[in-house]
Symmetry: C3
Subunit: 162 residues, 3 copies
């Protein structure tokens, strides 16, 4: 079921959540990323090849709680070593399907552009987001975010969430 005409504000809140997601990654505010999820929220990256081949184990990232996402942020801030770089997300073709009045399936297309420390600029991933979003006290949160890059080949290591 598609959104009814009177749900303009819900549509806007959901689009805002997608933008906040992109913005915390693009502006290096990684600590905000887990806060967009439910406590038992899931964040998964699985390439299109693996998904279509039903290879359930082939995830790039597989986090099944906010705590695991916070661990990832801690690791990125203090443990992992990688070349500094920026992301820039373009999210388009957002389609919202209402499941019930507090639960939404949302799919969208994404393109991630990466700029490295020397200023080199490259499109590193395109694909699809499939999100399950829940309204909690009028605020939308991710129950699940499944990121499906069109290929597992990338010009660069994927260090941050996509």
């Amino acid at each position: 079921m598609d959104m009814s005409a009177n749900s303009t504000s819900t549509t806007r809140l959901i689009c805002n959540l997608l933008d906040e997601y992109a913005d915390c990654l693009d502006s290096d505010s990684l600590e905000k990323w887990p806060e967009l999820f439910l406590e038992n929220g899931r964040y998964l990256i699985q390439s299109r090849e693996n998904l279509e081949a039903r290879l359930d184990g082939g995830h790039w990232m597989y986090y099944t709680s906010q705590g695991m996402m916070r661990d990832r942020v801690t690791s990125l801030r203090h443990i992992n070593t990688f070349n500094k770089h920026y992301y820039r997300h373009l999210i388009s073709n957002i389609k919202i399907s209402e499941q019930d009045d507090k639960s939404f399936h949302v799919r969208s297309n994404f393109l991630v552009v990466q700029t490295d420390f020397e200023g080199k600029f490259e499109c590193i991933s395109a694909g699809e987001y499939r999100d399950v979003i829940i309204m909690v006290d009028g605020k939308p949160m991710f129950k699940e975010k499944l990121v499906i890059p069109d290929t597992f080949h990338t010009a660069s290591a994927v260090v941050y969430p996509l």
Copy 2:
């Protein structure tokens, strides 16, 4: 004339049509593509160079009925030989102009990213869509879709509709 403020649901329906168009190409559901057009709908691809030079014959694709589009799909499925690849569409800057209460001119910008079977990932085309969309029993359909890539040079053959 731009859309009036009370036409939020019409705006959403039209944006959904653009998303369905992209989605049937991106998800290899080609059979759905002709169904988005009127029976006598037109699908045209003409490069910006040719359009600006008023070279009316220089179309990459020129279909003037749903039947011609279905033929193309049959050909792609059973006759043409090409390297398997995926598309990913980013559509933005959508502008809707109401002609009358059932007819709309819609322009938007597009970027098509292609991923080939080996996983190589490339932006293959950017340009503009100029659509004429008609409401039929409350459902928007393409009367005409004119695709204008910014150049007729592409890194790859254009096999699918853009």
Copy 3:
């Protein structure tokens, strides 16, 4: 403060302004570009590196009135020599924050694709727009547009506004 639910038409007007901005650059209607600004409007391009390093002088373009922008257009039309090329803007992730009922802070992500005269096609810049938009007699206009490319390295000279 985010937009209230009853401001759908304002949202649409503001998105239309962003589209008009892109369109006048993409369709080589440069003369329309200064007209989207207030008489004392500001148009600034500053790279992310310079902004984050607080290098206030490191602007690529720094115009503090409509007149300076018109000068730029005159210069581009009659004085500057450069290879002919097209832009194509993809603008997404638009976030509107209402300051008061006539004043809005709007941020968005952009990708600019350039096509040169020989047909070469390249993503030349991605980054963020930070706009201050004022409603004048029901029509939105830029009071300030700050363009922040993610890097000052580009594959090509930036001749037109981004």
